[in-house]
């Protein structure tokens, strides 16, 4: 089997800690039946996501991490809509990292896509129970009752009962069977699809939202870590004298690299940690360390040189990628014009506004963590693995994230904090300096690509050859992954929207010397840039208005599937292009203003 296929879909999902069907189902209302509602006088909790109190207040659980995308608001609104709740009673609480909440991996731009229906069902089931409780109370059939804005209404007598007054009775109602749950019609939505203000606005405008870096617990120490400037280099020696003398510094300790097992987890880079009684002293202590490193196998890695190497490799034929079709060689022979171009993307770092940080308290037989995490379940599993503590003894409190962009999917900073807490037997907060964030990230990979295209007399594209060299994300989980995986190429390379009879895609070797991660929109960063820039070149050569050229190349209306679960529609794509051109006043400016470049990227339709 070729390397392109070495990671099949399942493995890939596993590697990335993405949804397995089991976990998603683990959170449908059917399985939720295992959750026994407590018969309680004070609150009604029909499932893990809803908690209704006698005063009418409803707390809804957000199972995805908030990093600016508004997910706490949108998930809560999905529950509240089906529940017919009055928004003013709604509060949102963040779930701890725990499989019982379903998959919590806030990655891949699909929280709403995958969680909308389960959340709606949670709300709908609770509404049914409230209706049943009211019907029982009135001694009428449930079909004579309806829910409206925090009340159950008897449609015959017009009597009303406030949700809060149904707490006790509703707790005694059996959870409805999944098959009987009816969801609202789209036209009846009150919150879903509407513009709602963030439920967290007041916290954001008063400085009271707790991000990871704001966590304060008793006896908290602060730590900064110096890591080897070359990825995976190791410590040779350290002179701690100056660091230890720094005001506020309490301890300097060496931290071994924590190597993840093949196929999963992130581990930690290791280095030398300075523990202090405040963040700044930890930073100062770190700067005062005198460290000698053994740079290891990546010591000669140089980004300029690597760019050169990748570019040279583009001159040779790469591995043919399935999805290639027709015959580009004969197509080029018959072409009127041949255009060639080479494109580069540099390594990119996420630089979330809030630097990576984590607070951990290792307590012998249990661990508690507070951190800005996109994927708390993987962090929990990772800690269980490295520190040999059972999963249920590990609590991951998910704070607000001051930006994530994929950086906070990787839990290396949590592993560091736990390792240090274990060592110093005290709660500790690890804070990365901004310089650390830029120097030691899980970088979005660099890439080089070569494109060759032919056009005929009428300006039609006759053939398209594309060679792509991009270090694979898989390399962070599996050594020797020296080619982009099929799933990576399927983000805009194999499944570009163009109607091309002669298309040849080649995968070119690109080994990794850094920790490669993903940055929002992932491989589309490479494919979007390369494809669209090149189409622009072709349009130019054909002397055709690029908007029209793009539309021609996309071709007739159809659904483009590739290997994706989420096919896309070329008509909608063309509509976007047409409307954008209109809004940008394209026709008026073209061709005079050449800066008005046209770039059309099908952003991030993941797998």
């Amino acid at each position: 089997m070729s390397n392109i296929h070495q990671v099949n879909r399942r493995d890939f999902m596993k590697l990335f800690g993405l949804a397995s069907t089991g976990i998603i189902l683990g959170c449908t209302s059917t399985v939720e039946k295992k959750f026994q509602p407590e018969i309680n006088k004070d609150f009604f909790a029909p499932n893990l996501f809803i908690h209704l109190e006698k005063n009418g207040n409803i707390t809804l659980i957000a199972s995805r991490s908030e990093m600016g995308q508004g997910i706490r608001t949108s998930l809560a609104s999905a529950i509240a809509d089906e529940l017919e709740a009055d928004w003013k009673y709604v509060a949102v609480k963040q779930a701890t990292g725990d499989a019982k909440y379903g998959n919590q991996n806030t990655d891949g731009s699909r929280s709403v896509r995958t969680r909308l229906e389960p959340m709606r069902k949670m709300g709908a089931a609770a509404k049914m129970m409230l209706i049943s409780a009211a019907a029982k109370k009135w001694n009428v059939v449930a079909t004579d009752c309806k829910a409206e804005n925090h009340f159950i209404i008897n449609t015959v007598t017009k009597d009303k009962i406030f949700y809060g007054d149904l707490v006790e009775d509703a707790s005694k109602i059996a959870i409805p069977d999944d098959a009987t749950i009816q969801l609202k019609k789209v036209e009846d939505f009150k919150f879903i699809g509407k513009t709602l203000k963030s439920v967290d606005l007041n916290h954001f405008t008063h400085g009271t939202a707790t991000y990871g870096i704001d966590v304060r617990i008793p006896n908290l120490k602060f730590a900064a870590i110096v890591r080897c400037p070359v990825t995976f280099g190791t410590l040779k020696s350290v002179d701690k004298t100056d660091a230890e003398k720094t005001a506020g510094v309490e301890k300097v300790i060496e931290l071994d690299r924590i190597v993840p097992p093949v196929g999963q987890f992130f581990g930690a880079l290791g280095g030398v940690a300075v523990i202090a009684n405040n963040t700044w002293s930890a930073f100062q202590g770190k700067l005062n360390l005198n460290v000698e490193w053994d740079y290891g196998e990546n010591h000669s890695f140089d980004t300029d040189n690597f760019k050169q190497v990748l570019t040279e490799r583009l001159q040779e034929t790469g591995k043919l990628v399935p999805g290639s079709r027709g015959n580009t060689i004969s197509a080029f022979k018959k072409s009127e014009k041949i255009i060639e171009a080479t494109y580069h993307v540099p390594f990119l770092v996420h630089a979330p506004m809030e630097v990576p940080n984590a607070t951990a308290w290792f307590q012998g037989d249990k661990i508690e963590v507070w951190a800005p995490l996109q994927d708390p379940q993987t962090a929990r599993a990772e800690l269980a693995h490295f520190f040999e503590i059972p999963l249920e003894k590990i609590t991951i409190n998910v704070t607000f994230l001051g930006g994530g962009f994929g950086r906070k999917s990787k839990s290396d900073f949590v592993v560091e904090a736990v390792a240090l807490s274990k060592e110093i037997e005290s709660p500790v907060q690890v804070v990365w300096m901004r310089e650390d964030d830029i120097k030691h990230s899980f970088y979005h990979a660099t890439s080089a690509q070569y494109l060759k295209g032919g056009i005929d007399k009428k300006g039609n594209v006759t053939g398209w050859l594309q060679r792509v060299a991009v270090p694979s994300i898989v390399s962070s989980f599996k050594p020797m992954s020296d080619y982009a995986s099929g799933l990576e190429l399927n983000q805009g390379f194999t499944n570009n929207p163009y109607k091309l009879d002669n298309f040849r895609l080649e995968n070119v070797k690109a080994e990794s010397h850094l920790r490669i991660g993903w940055l929002r929109s992932v491989v589309h960063i490479h494919s979007g840039f390369g494809n669209n820039s090149f189409v622009d070149e072709l349009a130019n050569a054909a002397k055709i208005n690029p908007v029209q050229f793009h539309l021609n190349l996309i071709g007739k209306d159809r659904v483009i599937k590739g290997k994706s679960n989420y096919p896309y529609d070329s008509k909608r794509m063309k509509d976007v292009l047409n409307n954008t051109a209109k809004m940008a006043n394209w026709e008026k400016h073209y061709p005079k203003i050449t800066e008005l470049e046209l770039l059309f990227i099908i952003v991030f339709i993941l797998m």
């Binding site: 203000k197 954001f204 001051g402």
Partner: protein, 154 residues
């Protein structure tokens, strides 16, 4: 040696070395975490505070500078800040929210000085504050809105 910092009208006695940046004294010693760390080198504005009314990057000013002066942070309240908060709410400005303490403090200092700021006035003051989420257009709108709210209230 203990020192007294006056923050949002309240006195805090703290025991730190004088060269500790105000940011960390405020966050770690006083315990007001609304003021944020973004870069530590006066480049991002996340740590913005007012010192005797002057917009200051607290990551780059030592504690000694703040002694005997009036410090104002996002935990505080002022007429202009309240109008800005209302406008921020109206426009649903924040995304992740992390930069917004600094944005609001910078905007407060702008309105403290210029009653009816133009886009250029806004650019001049606000361009020191990075928003990684890119809420800039909403911030600009909200500042204009705050002015409108205030003018209506008067």
């Amino acid at each position: 040696m203990s020192k007294i910092l006056s923050i949002n009208g309240k006195s805090y006695t703290i025991d730190v070395q004088e060269d500790m940046p105000l940011l960390w004294a405020i966050r770690d010693i006083v315990g007001l975490t609304g003021t944020k760390f973004g870069c530590g080198v006066a480049q991002c504005g996340a740590c913005s505070i007012l010192i005797d009314g002057r917009l200051t990057k607290s990551c780059s000013m030592p504690v000694s500078y703040g002694i005997g002066k009036e410090i104002f942070t996002i935990e505080g309240t002022s007429e202009n800040l309240e109008f800005l908060r209302e406008a921020w709410n109206d426009g649903n400005v924040p995304q992740c929210g992390y930069c917004q303490s600094g944005q609001l403090i910078a905007a407060t200092s702008l309105l403290d000085k210029v009653a009816n700021p133009t886009d250029k006035d806004i650019n001049d003051v606000m361009s020191d504050n990075i928003c990684r989420c890119g809420t800039y257009t909403r911030i600009r709108k909200a500042i204009h809105k705050a002015v409108a709210l205030k003018n209506k209230a008067i």
